[in-house]
Amino acid sequence: MKDFKNILKWLNDEMTNDELASFRETDDYQLYKNIVEEAKDINLTSINEDVALQDFKARIANRTKKKAKVISFNRSLAFKIAASFTLLIGITYFLFNFNQETLKADFAENKSFVLPDESTVTLNAVSKITFSKTSFKKNRQLKLDGEAYFSVKKGSTFNVKTEQGNIAVLGTKFNVKSRENSFKVFCYEGRVAVSHNNTKVILTKGEGVKLTKNNTLIKLRNPETSVPLWLNNESYFMEEPYTEVLAEFERQFHVKIISKSINTNVLFTGGFNNKDLDSAIKSITLPLNINYRIKDNEIILSK
């Protein structure tokens, strides 16, 4: 693709007067001047604010529905203590079983590990990997349950096995999410081979796949970040089932969400911060007009 740096700068009003003056001399400017200027007043409908507001008030008046009362809360400290406690248990709870090494992250935590071959892995909350301590260096193969970001050292094939599919790479960076209702792989660097049943898909930088309900792999939009968002303590969902959003929330905050009385069969786009329960619960309930109530370690959702 052509270099758009200057044009992008121009359209974002970032140019200094001098830069602008010399940019105006270029062919690019001549080409795009008309397009961007005419685009400005393309016939996009506006609405009359006063009429719309009147309509809005009429709707409000028509609504006899009573507002449910929401109990406000501030328990984040309690959850923080609970989370650190879990962390403590998590650390002391390394399972050394025969030759198998298990590395895991518990509720409300991320953890990074260096593997015997010097590849690194970061586990998202409630995730684990298992591999053979003695043979890993020779045969790079591990099992993953949950979500993890791998940065693989160049060398022989590195295999990740999950319930839903297998991933094979040489040296690269990629993220795998393998949860009950969700299987997704994103490639951030190099090449990644994903196989599921009898299909095999090769991903290159910026590509991803997910498993659909009818068990086929489909390509995803670009991850558009250089590392998965969860490494920065953000959970983000793009048109994903609400049930998966709630499940991720439970893992990040170690709470139980009771969602019997709401419709969870909707899609959600948006995200939440993995460290701030108070704002996180708002981020996933308010956009869908859901009320919440906190009781001990339970969050009860209602319409």
């Binding site: 961007v36 400005k40 609405i47 309509d55 948006g270 308010l286």
Partner: protein, 170 residues
């Protein structure tokens, strides 16, 4: 935290008037149907109003867009737009037309509109938010929950595609 502002009717009205066209066009850019877009906008504002005690003005703005975006998503997926309130006012929509355009300008505009319609959804959204709404890349990134880099990428794609289609015209 200050939760009181939005529950005050006068303040809310101001907030409404200030944001209604922005969020309307935000949805319109995703979907051409005015009536559907207007329904979504009103629903989103109702949700803000009903939850006025939960956030301050600053947060309300981002929730408004996020609520509207999610409503759009779910309305679109289930293809059931319920017109639950009949709007019988005829002067709700304002279509702007610049009468002093020359024939050639009109032709060009028409061509451009077609070219914009042919863009991918992702590129069109970013391009129009920047051109019509005058939003900076950073604001668009926040609005759509993507990175600034991604916005720039989509913008470049839009520019490239528009140029290809418009060049024939000149």
């Amino acid at each position: 935290m200050n939760f009181t502002d939005l529950c005050d009717e006068k303040q809310f009205d101001m907030f409404y008037k200030q944001e209604v066209n922005h969020v309307f066009r935000f949805i319109l850019i995703k979907n051409k149907n005015k009536d559907e877009a207007f329904e979504i906008v009103q629903e989103a504002f109702i949700k803000i109003w009903e939850n006025c005690n939960k956030f301050n003005l600053q947060k309300a703005k981002s929730y408004l867009f996020s609520i509207a975006g999610n409503l759009f998503l779910n309305v679109k997926k289930h293809e059931k737009v319920v017109r639950n309130y009949e709007n019988n006012s005829t002067n709700l929509y304002i279509d702007t037309e610049t009468p002093e355009d020359t024939l050639r300008q009109k032709e060009f505009k028409h061509k451009l509109e077609k070219a914009i319609a042919n863009l991918t959804d992702a590129s069109r959204e970013v391009f129009l938010l920047n051109r019509i709404e005058g939003k900076k890349y950073k604001e668009i990134a926040e609005l759509l929950g993507i990175s600034v880099k991604a916005v720039e990428k989509r913008m470049s794609k839009a520019l490239l595609a528009l140029r290809a289609q418009i060049e024939e015209f000149n």
